[in-house]
């Protein structure tokens, strides 16, 4: 291959380099800077090395938030992915019904995050909320503000309501891109609905499902606004997820050093998991590439 040496190219990428520097690299450097210093007051700081990292990793509250976060992410993924597929499969394929369903399905995605929290906060209240009132009328003493289990159920239900449409829309697009010939061939081969799903639809959906999984993992792992508005992390620490804990640390207690160290660890976890998922996506979409590497 012929490589052209031309330094002008650097000028062309300069705008991107500058904007990325301002938006990502400089803030990141700031965080790294904080994470290795103890800031006592203005112009008073001490270099502490990795002490904050050590302290944060030993923090039992953070362990609790981390476990809650993993549990929350696993539960919402386990519900939203299959449910999204199911909704996409049952959506009409064409005509005005398809358009109408698409609009209705997409509505939750258009609601601002803090409004989602507010909607569910009101909806779940036994005194003025429809949902809470209904449960109370059934004789269930439902209260997400005092009962940790109720808080969890409400937060999960809220996330499922908010984000399942995304998975459904992705799957719907994936399903529409399967050529008619596959279904006709399956009919001729005598395949039942389950076999059609198992051997045609699901394999063809695997690409968009991995993207859905990646997006939903990242978003749910970073969830903040909705549970913050709904429960504020309570009752107690019951719904304090990583982001909420981080905010308490950084803004509530103004422990900038530990908060910065924690941010970096948090960032690293999301990077690693996203990288693994991304690699799987690449493998899936290009099976021959990996084969060539193997040979």
């Amino acid at each position: 291959m012929i490589k052209t040496r031309n330094n002008k190219a650097w000028f062309l990428v300069l705008p991107v380099v500058i904007s990325v520097a301002f938006s990502a690299i400089i803030p990141l450097m700031t965080v790294i800077n904080y994470s290795v210093q103890d800031i006592i007051g203005p112009d008073q700081k001490v270099f502490v090395g990795l002490d904050w990292f050590k302290e944060v990793l030993r923090d039992p509250d953070l362990h609790g938030a981390f476990l809650r976060q993993i549990l929350f992410t696993l539960v919402v993924l386990a519900i939203e992915i299959p449910l999204g597929i199911l909704i996409a499969l049952s959506m009409p394929a064409k005509g005005w019904k398809a358009s109408l369903t698409l609009v209705l399905i997409a509505l939750p995605l258009l609601v601002p995050f803090n409004v989602v929290g507010t909607i569910w906060q009101i909806f779940g209240r036994a005194d003025i909320g429809l949902g809470g009132h209904f449960l109370a009328s059934l004789g269930i003493n439902y209260n997400y503000a005092t009962n940790p289990l109720h808080a969890w159920l409400t937060v999960i239900l809220m996330d499922v309501w908010h984000w399942t449409p995304l998975v459904a829309l992705l799957c719907y697009a994936g399903l529409r891109s399967i050529p008619e010939g596959y279904y006709q061939a399956a009919k001729i081969d005598g395949a039942k609905a389950w076999a059609v799903f198992r051997f045609i639809q699901f394999p063809k959906l695997s690409g968009v499902l991995m993207i859905g999984l990646l997006l939903r993992f990242m978003d749910s792992f970073m969830i903040y606004t909705e549970p913050f508005v709904l429960t504020g992390g309570g009752p107690g620490n019951a719904t304090t997820f990583l982001s909420i804990y981080l905010t308490k640390l950084a803004v509530g207690q103004f422990d900038l050093g530990p908060a910065a160290a924690f941010s970096l660890i948090y960032f690293l976890i999301i990077q690693v998991v996203s990288f693994v998922l991304y690699t799987i996506i690449q493998r899936n979409s290009n099976p021959n590439a990996s084969k060539q590497v193997a040979q």
């Binding site: 050529p179 009919k187 001729i188 081969d189 005598g190 394999p203 021959n288």
Partner: protein, 366 residues
């Protein structure tokens, strides 16, 4: 295997068709014999695929009936019809091995596993897929995938017919010939009824015993490749079949001459008994295949079947020559042997008796 009858079959995608143009498939009645190889030939959009999908049951015809061995299957769904179909683009099940792909139609029908294995092994051998049976199907080349699609049709013992919808479209040219020979060989060995849709006349003429030529939703002619070539019943058949297609010359009855027509200001003799059948209002056309049109620079033996023309172009195609000549306002082509001595300039065209056809309103006059 079965005899396939189409009884008054027609299809319209819109309700209440009135005019012939409302039909995607105009009314037709036809019988396809058991074990025959049929080609449905025609330009894109002529209704070939519609007809194929009606036979396989993917589409329910709006009019008429489809019968397999005399049994009415019009209302039967695809899976109950015992039809195998190979599509334009290879359909394979990505996640399965080649073996499982071939076994899929049998397993869906709950055939015992030992029989599945023996059927798959047999078909794999026939299609030369044995060495790939354990491989995943998704990484294979297009012609291999198409063979797998075909194999899924062949593994079933009960298939009434195998339908092909332009199966060689995505195959590399050098593989097309091989795959077509394979099809021919399988047809000879298994004696299956094959219906093959294509817009490629070479494919149709080399593959099929009977060619059904369609145009604009209607069957123009059904017959052997030879009949389509030598006796085109419609000017479209003459134009579509052959390379180059038939020369078609608009002409008029010659006043006062019972056995001749006028092409421009030239006169060409035509059998009187043909002209007797033509009424005065019909649009007449003379058709002659380039293979039968003689062409020379000098007149060899005066005959009224020779007409003066200008030879404008001679193309040497290696094994034969194509001569382009103008006769009045019309351009004609003649296919001459490689050793024919023809140069551009004034010359004569010879309209061979028996091979010069007369068409009235596009239909042949006999």
């Amino acid at each position: 295997m079965a005899r396939i009858e189409l009884d008054g079959l027609a299809h319209a995608y819109r309700p209440n068709p009135q005019k012939p143009e409302d039909y995607a498939l105009r009314p037709m009645t036809m019988t396809w014999q058991d074990g025959g190889a049929y080609a449905l030939l025609g330009p894109s959009g002529c209704g070939k695929t519609t007809l194929l999908n009606i036979i396989s049951g993917l589409l329910r015809p709006s009019h008429g009936r489809v019968l397999f061995d005399g049994r009415d299957v019009t209302d039967l769904p695809t899976e109950a019809r015992n039809i195998a179909q190979v599509f334009q683009f290879p359909v394979i099940y990505d996640t399965m091995t080649v073996h499982d792909n071939l076994a899929f139609p049998l397993r869906n029908r709950r055939i015992p596993e030992p029989e599945v294995r023996s059927r798959v092994a047999h078909i794999a051998e026939l299609l030369e897929l044995t060495s790939d049976l354990k491989n995943r199907a998704r990484g294979l080349s297009a012609d291999m995938k198409q063979k797998i699609s075909l194999g899924r049709g062949l593994v079933r013992k009960d298939v009434a017919a195998i339908l092909f919808d332009e199966p060689l479209t995505v195959i590399d040219p050098h593989m097309k010939w091989q795959l077509r020979s394979k099809l021919k060989q399988i047809h000879n060995e298994l004696k299956l009824s094959l219906i093959y849709v294509t817009h490629d006349q070479v494919e149709a003429l080399t593959f099929a015993d009977q060619v059904v030529l369609m145009y604009d939703g209607a069957v123009m002619q059904a017959g052997t490749p030879q009949a389509l070539f030598e006796e085109p019943e419609h000017t479209f058949v003459g134009y579509f079949i052959g390379s180059p297609g038939m020369n078609l010359l608009p002409c008029t009855l010659e006043p006062g001459n019972p056995d001749g027509v006028q092409i421009g200001n030239l006169s060409l003799p035509v059998d009187a008994h043909l002209l007797e059948q033509v009424n005065a209002q019909s649009d007449l056309t003379i058709g002659i295949r380039p293979e039968f049109l003689g062409c020379s620079n000098t007149l060899e033996g005066a005959s009224s079947r020779n007409l003066p023309a200008t030879i404008t172009r001679v193309d040497d195609l290696g094994t034969y020559k194509i001569v382009t000549a103008t006769l009045g306002a019309h351009t004609l082509r003649a296919k001459l042997p490689e050793d024919a001595r023809v140069v551009t300039g004034p010359g004569f065209l010879n309209f061979l008796t028996g091979q010069t056809k007369l068409y009235a309103d596009s239909r042949i006059v006999r």
